[in-house]
Symmetry: C2
Subunit: 276 residues, 2 copies
């Protein structure tokens, strides 16, 4: 495994690779969810590349950029068995003085996470575009946990004609159902105990649909009840949308994405499933 | 020479090319200036690619998108001796329904042409980004005539870490000094006769600098006088800026770009030189 810190060196390295490159962009503080992406990238390609970069431009001014958990040594140890190249640039390498080019996908970034975190997806599309230009992957791997991010990146890749395939992998969960996330580390033991309520409500939605329920109103009511029984949980949104366009739906279809954000104190947890 | 009309087919073709690719993006209606770029692209690379696409998103609502001159048959005949692949997509191929991703380089797009043509450079960076993703060139060739375009594209390539080199080639001129441009075809014979006044004023600036003049005010005064002697010419701007940052300068340096836009009736002509 080779760790590369500059764009220039990565470009030079990449110019000598003609094999298939599988790429997993991350913000580090890795968990089993990330590792499952890396394993799949390695299986489906000749070479696996992982980037570790906490991207400042996707955090709002009052968000957790400074406190976002970081542990490069641990990350590298976890990646070592499965990874050929790690790209770990500094903030200044990615955004040098005078940096001023932005990639923006509109139409699907104004809702859900984008509505609550203005500018977030502009930061995401910009950094992922840059990382794709640096790594030039054959396939890039993302977790379904960030459902809107997946939809936005797929749309950017399609609109900008990027010559690569976006592969979406299932959300990995703790034994009690909580979706794995680097931000879970923010939870107090009490919050952590209540956090599986997100997935419980999603499972309830799935069961209701399997039993024939199609009304979004009815399903949302049941989900809200389940989450509100947990005193530390505060619902930001429970949303039913088309999985690709993220347009709101009122009757459940095969491609309906149920996504949610729930706050425990200052910590926002997100989760989702595709129904049907 | 092979003509390719779809992104998908170009990607497939490109995946089988490991040689150096030289790329010349054009809006067609080719002249000797374009051909000189193609010749250089062919000389410096193994394979030459030319795109022909009149990009709707870089024209303002009151600009000449519909009347922009087009002649695909003539263009292909001119390219045939020097070109391996022509990429000639339809508008719908490049901007299908629901298209909504935009690449924007800020800081240097608000002045000069960008000030007069709002949104123009957003259209330019978006389409050039797409074309670079489709063609994946080793080197891309642009004419110095569009000086701001060159600066903007260089900045976009640098900011977005695109793995290619932007090569800038000298402006080709008619025998009387008029910079070659597809839009010269709009000029009436009378306007055409007066049009070399742009280059005459630029030559005057060059001479003054060689003779020791450094004051932008003094040079601009002489240039303005020369152009205003031509009754059909209306100056939009004569601008002295740093060649890279496009920040205004008041004393001439080695890297000072003198650029101008002059209207003849409804036709805008632009021209420039780098002083020193």
């Amino acid at each position: 495994m080779k760790v590369i810190e500059t764009i220039n060196e990565f470009h030079k390295t990449r110019n000598n690779i003609t094999n298939k490159v599988g790429f997993v962009p991350t913000m580090g503080y890795l968990h089993e969810g990330h590792i499952s992406l890396v394993k799949q990238a390695r299986t489906e390609n000749d070479i696996s590349v992982v980037s570790i970069f906490v991207n400042p431009t996707q955090f709002g001014p009052n968000e957790d950029f400074k406190t976002y958990p970081r542990n490069m040594q641990r990350d590298l140890a976890m990646l070592e068995p499965f990874t050929d190249y790690v790209f770990a640039p500094s903030d200044k390498e990615m955004y040098p003085e005078g940096y001023n080019t932005w990639v923006e996908t509109r139409g699907i970034t104004e809702v859900l996470e984008g509505a609550i975190r203005p500018g977030h997806f502009k930061g995401v599309t910009t950094v992922v575009n840059k990382l794709f230009n640096i790594v030039q992957p054959t396939k890039a791997y993302f977790g379904q946990k960030d459902a809107q991010q997946v939809a936005v990146i797929k749309k950017m890749v399609k609109d900008l004609d990027m010559n690569l395939e976006v592969v979406v992998c299932p959300t990995l969960r703790e034994p009690d159902g909580l979706a794995m996330s680097s931000r879970n580390t923010y939870l107090t033991p009490e919050m952590r105990k209540g956090a599986p309520v997100l997935y419980k409500s999603l499972q309830k939605a799935q069961t209701m649909v399997e039993e024939g329920e199609q009304s979004v109103t009815a399903i949302r009511r049941e989900m809200t009840d389940i989450i509100n029984k947990e005193p530390l949980a505060n619902i930001e949104y429970i949303s039913f949308t088309d999985n690709e366009t993220l347009k709101e739906v009122y009757h459940v279809k095969q491609t309906t994405l149920v996504s949610m954000a729930v706050k425990f104190g200052k910590t926002r947890l997100i989760d989702n499933i595709v129904l049907g």
